[in-house]
């Protein structure tokens, strides 16, 4: 076996052009499989992350937030949005039958922050009541968010301990949160006292958040429904009980994303299958042509005492090595395109996108390279069989 392997390796090294072409064909196959799989996995992880981050069954937002279509975009694309309702909505929510937990959040779109040239979404939470963002923050910050402390999403390039200015207020970054693959990664989180200070500062800058009643404001209430209660019924009760606000089931938001994801997954899977079939057919033809061209070489080897079995094994080893080489090259090329430009891909897809962890990615890369080797070997099976049947005398006499 080792003799066959070394002979196959020498054959590949001595014919670099032929080896490169065969490797290039399998590289396309590996590129499609690895690239496509990483994109689909990232989209699935993004959707799971979105579900985990939403955490609530129902979200109550001011009616205007629905018409602005800003609420869903805030989650998916990180666009800034600010809409307000009377803070008394929180109490009214807790009065509704079937509500287990209710946590308020207040949104504020910053002016262009001094660190960036775009607006940042600032989200005020009540750490005591919050059950959606707080567990996520707790993974990166062991203490509670203090006054004028902020936790930043992973896409805000500010280090812990750095001071960022929001409406001329100095806020200290105390934590950088884990990636979620959603629009929440571009936001800044603070407690309600900090949010009130920022709202006041915004008011002084001419950014009004006042509502008609002039009372305290919140932007959304996240609601957890008691176990066993019908979520739709609670949703209807909330819509009937609270004026100028709309209760939205988080499931409906996720379903829309899930549908888009299914569409993208189908397209990517279709492309993978198409590239696979094409690459396999081309490989079949390529091996058939190469074997025909090398008939004299193999005839000489037969005359020198190589068995049919050894020649077949040599062809299969050569093609598997070519496939492995191409697989590694394809995976490398896909990694070079996917990982540095993951943010660009996420922005283009406009869907939650969370790259798989290193272990999963390495496993996928190794699997793809191995698969390429197997596919290349399979493509050469017919050629290897034909080769084992040649009559060396006839081939050498005919000069073919």
């Amino acid at each position: 076996m080792s003799k066959t392997f070394s002979l196959s390796a020498k054959n590949l090294i001595r014919k670099p052009g032929r080896t490169a072409i065969l490797a290039l064909l399998t590289a396309f196959l590996a590129l499609a499989v690895f690239g496509g799989s990483v994109v689909v996995l990232s989209l699935r992880s993004g959707l799971n992350s979105l579900e985990a981050r939403l955490g609530a069954d129902i979200i109550l937002v001011p009616t205007e937030a629905q018409s602005k279509v800003s609420f869903q975009n805030m989650f998916l694309q990180g666009t800034t949005g600010a809409f307000y309702m009377d803070a008394s909505a929180l109490e009214k929510v807790t009065e509704v039958e079937g509500v287990e937990k209710a946590a308020p959040q207040t949104f504020l779109a910053s002016l262009k922050a001094d660190c960036c040239s775009i607006k940042i979404q600032v989200i005020g939470i009540d750490p005591e009541k919050d059950f959606t963002v707080q567990p996520w923050i707790a993974r990166s910050l062991t203490k509670e968010l203090g006054d004028m402390d902020v936790a930043v999403g992973c896409k805000v390039e500010a280090n812990v301990g750095e001071i960022i200015r929001l409406y001329e207020q100095r806020c200290k970054v105390v934590a950088r949160l884990e990636a979620t693959g959603t629009g929440l990664d571009t936001a800044v989180y603070c407690n309600m006292d900090t949010m009130n200070a920022l709202l006041k500062a915004a008011e002084e800058k001419g950014v009004s958040h006042k509502i008609e009643s002039g009372s305290d404001v919140i932007s959304a209430v996240y609601i957890k429904v008691k176990d066993g209660c019908d979520i739709d019924a609670v949703n209807s009760r909330l819509n009937g009980h609270i004026r100028k606000a709309t209760a939205v089931r988080t499931r409906s938001m996720i379903t829309g994303v899930s549908d888009s994801l299914a569409g993208v997954s189908r397209t990517v899977s279709g492309l993978i299958v198409a590239v696979w079939m094409l690459a396999f057919i081309i490989l079949l033809l390529a091996f058939a042509l190469i074997i025909q061209e090398r008939a004299r070489e193999f005839a000489v080897l037969r005359l020198l005492g190589s068995s049919r079995r050894m020649l077949s094994r040599m062809v299969l080893t050569e093609s598997a090595l070519c496939g492995l080489l191409g697989g590694i090259a394809g995976v490398g090329l896909a990694a070079l395109l996917l990982f540095p430009f993951s943010q660009l891909i996420e922005s283009s897809l406009r869907l939650p996108y969370l790259m798989p962890d290193a272990g999963k990615t390495l496993l996928l890369a190794a699997g793809t390279a191995l698969l390429s080797a197997v596919m290349a070997a399979l493509a050469s099976v017919a050629a290897a069989y034909r080769l084992s049947r040649i009559d060396p005398g006839t081939v050498l006499r005919e000069g073919n």
């Binding site: 990180g78 922050a113 660190c115 960036c116 040239s117 775009i118 940042i120 992973c154 896409k155 805000v156 390039e157 500010a158 990664d185 571009t186 070079l336 540095p340 430009f341 943010q343 660009l344 922005s347």
Partner: protein, 128 residues
């Protein structure tokens, strides 16, 4: 001799992509109010480093006997090119902004590829 010139041609082509790209399709963020962020200056520096690499590649093609030294001198320029966006010169503080999303990864890849070409050129020149 001819083989040793191939890396110089690759370097020249990549440098042209850096020079043209840093001002067009790989340019830093464009601020609506016309102000310049730090990424603007990073883009300018990258264009300068691309020009330096381009000149070095031309020097290899013109003064072939000096190619070993010229190829070697291109490598620190490439290292500077890799470190400029984000490390030596700050970029905008949001990953979703163009300078971090497009310019930084593309420039790192381009300068890394130029560096590999320079390294291959150095090795092939050393052999001769």
């Amino acid at each position: 001799m001819k083989k040793a010139m191939i890396p110089a041609c690759v370097m020249l082509a990549l440098s042209l992509v850096v020079i043209v790209g840093s001002q067009t399709f790989l340019s830093p963020c464009v601020h609506e109010d016309g102000s310049f962020g730090p990424c603007h200056w990073a883009g300018r520096a990258l264009m300068g480093l691309g020009c330096a690499n381009g000149v070095l590649a031309l020097l290899v093609l013109i003064f072939r006997k000096a190619r070993f030294g010229v190829y070697m001198s291109a490598m620190p320029v490439c290292l500077m090119g890799i470190l400029t966006p984000g490390t030596l010169i700050d970029l905008c503080h949001m990953s979703t902004m163009r300078c971090r999303m497009v310019m930084q990864p593309a420039m790192i890849i381009l300068f890394a590829a130029t560096g590999i070409a320079a390294l291959l050129g150095t090795l092939s020149s050393a052999k001769e």
